[in-house]
């Protein structure tokens, strides 16, 4: 058996995600400027050509590896270790939930809920400890950013309620 056959195959599936996504975006970009006058097209096409050239070279490299039997189609690199994979997926889902809730939930309440659920999903036990951590961090953040610095964060029921209470800072 040759030395090449003994060599472990390189997982390449996940490596293709970025160049494929980038190439698709470059094509979409070129399509979006297709009807433009030439002077408005030029810079975009220059950048798209550069990106497609690099991605093309990468595809050729991966293709050659595949032909030589040195590549293995594997996407596990992007998913991370198998341990607690579901929890991490749940955490990512929580981020998407945050996106939709923060608009009407406001900074403080949404941050509290996210920190509580997020830290619990990430492994903080018991739930009481997670709730205490979330409450301290959310209120601390509200005090520091909103009250002290006056930062423009999304406003929700908590902020509106506090605004109704006469305080030295309002």
């Amino acid at each position: 058996m040759s030395l090449n056959d003994d060599r472990p195959k390189k997982p390449v599936g996940a490596d293709l995600i970025i160049p494929v996504a980038a190439s698709l975006y470059a094509l979409y970009y070129v399509a979006s400027v297709w009807d433009f006058p030439p002077e408005a097209q030029r810079s975009g096409i220059f950048l798209a050509a550069m990106l497609l050239l690099f991605s093309g070279l990468f595809f050729v490299r991966v293709g050659l590896m595949a032909v030589r039997g040195q590549a293995r189609w594997d996407f596990s690199a992007v998913l991370g270790p198998t341990e607690r994979r579901l929890h991490r997926a749940g955490f990512l889902g929580l981020i998407f939930v945050y996106l939709f809730v923060v608009e009407w939930g406001g900074f403080t309440l949404t941050t509290f809920a996210f920190l509580f659920a997020g830290s619990w999903l990430a492994g903080l036990r018991p739930p009481g400890k997670a709730a205490l951590f979330a409450a301290v961090a959310a209120l601390g953040g509200w005090l520091f950013f909103v009250v002290v610095l006056g930062t423009r964060f999304p406003v929700g029921p908590f902020e509106r309620l506090v605004a109704m209470v006469p305080t030295p800072w309002s």
Binding site: A14, D15, I17, I18, P19, A21, A22, Y25, A26, Y28, Y29, S32, V33, F36, P37, P38, E39, A40, R42, S43, G44, F46, L47, M50, L51, F54, L57, F58, R61, A77, V78, G80, P81, H87, R88, F91, L92, I95, F96, Y98, L99, V102, E103, T111, F114, L115, G118, S119, A122, G123, L124, A137, A138, G141, F145, L149, T151, R152, F153, P154
Partner: protein, 506 residues
């Protein structure tokens, strides 16, 4: 603005008057720098709502103080745990950890602190005096050269910082492509926006950097239970011992001075960050040492050289940003985003319109290092515990506080969604070896390169050959070509030599 003693004194007092901001920034920077894998730019991103609310000089002072302090903090876990807090501290582990295991952790920490602070002071001082000359560079650079410089900077990042050059180039070009999103400069017609109205002005930089750095970092972080091992060596020397150790460290003054200057020079190159500077400094210290055989066994010069160099880099990375408006690394890119938000110009215009700010950045660094001189005494005693931070606290905190930070600049909910989208891109990029900083720098440079390109075309009647019409530009094109061609050739040659040696053995 002429840089005379009176101006310097004025700058110094102005920076000193911000002590109330510098001291907490230094504390936060050291603490966060000591958390392995949590870089300075992530801390700055977490505190973006703060820096966006502050006046620009306060924001800048806060960021540079935090940045410098994080480099000092990075040496702590490198010495105590054999885990570098920042990439720049990787070389410190080689001799710092052996010293720690030999019961000399307090001494190693003192060496690291003194080298960091003195190295930072030296390079900040040198940069301050060189800045009037460096600020003139921008006057000799026209739109043709700007196009090449930007491409050259990205190519350098791909060649030096990224592990795989082709992946680095793809990351940089992808960033440029994303940065070119939005209304075109001539007819104001949207391009590549997916019909999203909030993207018509281009990719908002704050959400992009929050996603690429902070969100992706939090997602990767969750793969571990804690950010560092829990078997931290506990070191609490007495006050007199701490003082003795610190005075002893000044014996290595020459190594510190030379290594920090080396760090400054390397820091100016885009992409060649603190980790490269630290290893180069370590290597040169060994070459010129009378006892090179002691390197790797817990040798004192082997700790001061990398630590001084990685702190020299901190001022170096800001030079291209200030002089020509091109960020040399991740933290400089983050600072550029904040400064752009405040409407601060870069390059020669910065030195004309905001000279106090331009020189003040470096003076703030100098003052921050002076404050570190004071704070390192108590810090040297109590810092070994902070590296043990459970990810179930850190990851949700990072996401919650940075996502809402994406909302602050424009008040659009869509910006939070954009941050999440960039977070997913950043996560995939990190997991598959694409350089996240190259993507961000591409996003920042995208609109700038496009503007310079269009200007060149307009001036030269749409003649593409105009890109090769400038002598400086042509030299840079040559260097760019070398940057792209040489690494694969050298790599192939090294591979062949290695194979030949292996064949000889068999």
């Amino acid at each position: 603005m002429e840089l005379n003693p009176a101006t310097l004194l004025e700058l110094f007092w102005h920076s000193l008057s911000m002590w109330w901001l510098i001291i907490p920034a230094v504390m936060i920077g050291i603490l966060m720098g000591a958390i392995p894998g949590f870089a300075a730019h992530n801390t700055i991103i977490m505190l973006l709502p703060l820096t966006l609310v502050f006046d620009v000089d306060l924001a800048l002072t806060f960021m540079v103080a935090l940045y410098c302090a994080s480099h000092l903090g990075g040496g702590i876990p490198a010495i105590l745990l054999n885990i570098p807090g920042t990439g720049g501290a990787a070389a410190t582990t080689l001799d710092g950890y052996p010293m720690s295991r030999a019961g000399l952790a307090a001494k190693a920490l003192a060496l690291s602190f003194v080298a960091s602070v003195v190295g930072g002071l030296i390079t900040a001082g040198i940069t301050l005096f060189l800045l009037p000359f460096l600020s003139q560079v921008g006057f000799h650079i026209r739109s043709v050269e700007m196009v090449v410089i930007m491409l050259f900077g990205l190519a350098l990042i791909a060649a030096i910082a990224a592990q795989d050059m082709l992946k680095g180039l793809i990351a940089g070009a992808f960033g440029l492509m994303l940065g070119a999103m939005g209304a075109d400069h001539i007819y104001a017609t949207p391009r590549g926006t997916f019909g999203i109205l909030e993207l018509f002005d281009g990719v908002p930089l704050v959400p992009a950097l929050i996603g690429l750095f902070a969100i992706s970092e939090a997602l990767v972080m969750l793969e571990r239970r804690t950010i560092a091992k829990t078997n931290a060596a506990q070191v609490t020397p007495t006050w007199p011992q701490s003082l003795r150790n610190i005075f002893h460290a000044f014996k290595h003054g020459w190594t510190i001075a030379w290594s920090s200057v080396l760090g400054l020079v390397i820091g100016v190159l885009p992409g060649a960050g603190a980790s490269i500077a630290a290893f180069v400094a370590y290597q040169q210290a060994r070459i010129f040492s009378k006892t090179p055989e002691k390197f790797g066994t817990g040798h004192e010069p082997a700790i001061v050289a990398p630590e001084a160099a990685n702190n020299g880099v901190t001022t170096g990375t800001l030079v291209p940003l200030l002089a020509i408006g091109i960020p040399g690394g991740s933290t400089a890119a983050v600072m550029m985003v904040v400064l752009q938000y405040h409407g601060v110009p870069f390059g020669p215009r910065l030195f004309i319109t905001e000279p106090l700010l331009a020189y003040g950045v470096i003076m703030s660094m100098f003052v921050a290092y002076l404050f570190m001189l004071v704070t390192m005494f108590p810090m040297a005693r109590y810092l070994s515990r902070i590296t043990v931070v459970a990810t179930y606290y850190m990851a949700p905190l990072i996401v919650a506080f940075t996502l809402v930070g994406a909302f602050v600049p424009r008040g659009f909910m869509t910006d939070i969604a954009i941050a999440v989208a960039f977070g997913v891109i950043g996560y995939v990029a990190r997991k598959t070896g694409y350089h996240v900083a190259a993507i961000l720098i591409g996003v920042i440079l995208g609109p700038l390169i496009e503007r310079s390109f269009l200007l060149t075309m307009r001036i030269h009647g749409n003649d593409l050959m105009a890109l090769f019409s400038s002598p400086i530009g042509n030299v840079l094109w040559g260097l760019l070509a070398l940057t792209l061609i040489l690494p694969p050739i050298l790599h192939r040659r090294a591979h062949r030599r290695g194979k030949a040696e292996a064949d000889d053995v068999y």
